[in-house]
Amino acid sequence: MKYSALSILREGLRGHKGWKPMWRDPKPKSHYDVIIIGGGGHGLATAYYLAKEHNITNVAVLEKGWIGGGNVGRNTTIIRSNYLHPANTHFYEKSMKLWEGLERDFNFNAMVSQRGVINLFHSDPQRDAFARRGNAMRLAGVDAEILSPEQLREHVPILDFDNARFPIKGGLLQKRGGTVRHDAVAWGYARGADSRGVDIIQNCEVKDIIVEGGKVVGVETSKGQIKANKIGMAVAGHTSQVAKMAGIKLPIESHVLQAFVSEGIKPFLDTVVTFGAGHFYISQSDKGGLVFGGDLDGYNTYAQRGNLPMMEHVMAGGMAIMPAIGRVRLLRHWGGIMDMSFDGSPFICKTGIDHLYLNGGWCYGGFKATPASGWCFAHTIAKDQPHKLNEKFTIDRFREGKMIDEKGVGPNPWIQ
């Protein structure tokens, strides 16, 4: 059912009796052309682009719980393409372009809000490092600006310029960066995929991957065996677990990242601010909650909850740059399981097992990647070879010494 001003008017007047489910609740077939494991943003986007771009519609998305219940439904919703390494810059810029046309593409309003993303810096060397990044962006055709302290003051008056332990010396701004309503991304892709014939199967946990003669042929699930010609894994925090089912070991660790939301307040902050030196970033949701976060708790875990030390640290970071938030109350905090790769960059690649494909290693940056990740992964699966945009996101890059390390902290996933 198409959403339009008219359909809303019509339904409003007849008590909304006519709205149909956004996606069906089908029983799994015994065989599909493609199975995508994981009904998060990436899995659903992959199914959507398989159908839309490659006309492959005999597709199932298998989700162990409810779609969107993983990281896509619990992230801090920031989108940006302000990366340093060209491999990342081009990929994330593709994503940004897709975001920009998304709502009309899938007829669902995900509230893409290009309110700008600012990274603060506090010293000359930091400014130079950000300038290097900003210039890399500009040279890749991406927008970036450097803000002086005066410009920043005008842009974000709520910052504390005068009493900060690490005085603010300016910021790198990407105006086209911003936020997107996270749940809507999952729902929009699901609805779009479903309407093109994709089966979205919830409460269907993949328990094993069946490989015969070096080629993947199907999966065992909580709803029985399902065969497929090709299988893509897009399970984020559970990447190691699912890959292990096919005997694959990866340079990935699972870690928890916490997120926080305050009580709703009237408009307070109309951009995204990242305070890297204090491990804090913040934006305001359309409901009015301040949505913020910081670093990983820093220990391997599959529990979607974190602990007090990081909470205190994150909020101290917030108070350090925005002391006006002191009396705003924390409403809720939660965690999500990050598939931390050993260089902070993702995998979208073939696996060494024929027709089994890997999408993972997203760390805490995979939400913004959702459209491009789905788009590239669909391409990789459909063509059995990567697109130029994702050709560097291989597993072998580590063996070859071609890491794509944005932070430069080396093989320590808990600080990547």
Binding site: S240, Q241, K244, K249, L250, P251, I252, E253, S254, G298, Y299, N300, T301, Y302, A303, N307, L308, P309, F342, F398, R399, P411, N412, P413, W414
Partner: protein
């Protein structure tokens, strides 16, 4: 918040420690192949369940502590010094 029993200092808050990753991998002999070093530095089981790992007690005695901890429940089964061989609990909880 994890309470980690440092063999030297006793039970301490997680906040006193710096996590240092998987302790089940062993550094290869110096003359080992690049591949062995590659596995040591990059390849991880990343288990769901019991995990042997390093916690460096930087806020206390500065010893590297080995900890057997569950990555689902965060329960700690055992802690020991760097040279201790800690066993995983028999029945792996799921």
């Amino acid at each position: 918040m994890h309470q980690i029993n440092c063999p030297w200092c006793g039970k301490r808050d997680e906040a006193e420690f710096q996590y240092q990753g998987d302790a089940s991998v062993k550094r290869p002999e110096p003359d080992a192949s690049q591949d062995e070093f590659f596995n040591y530095v990059y390849m991880r089981d990343n288990p769901k369940g019991w995990h042997t790992e390093w916690w460096h007690h930087i806020g206390g005695c500065r010893q590297w502590i080995k900890v057997v901890r569950n990555t689902i429940t965060h329960e700690i089964h055992a802690t020991g010094g760097p040279q201790d061989d800690l066993e995983l609990p028999k029945a792996d909880v799921k």
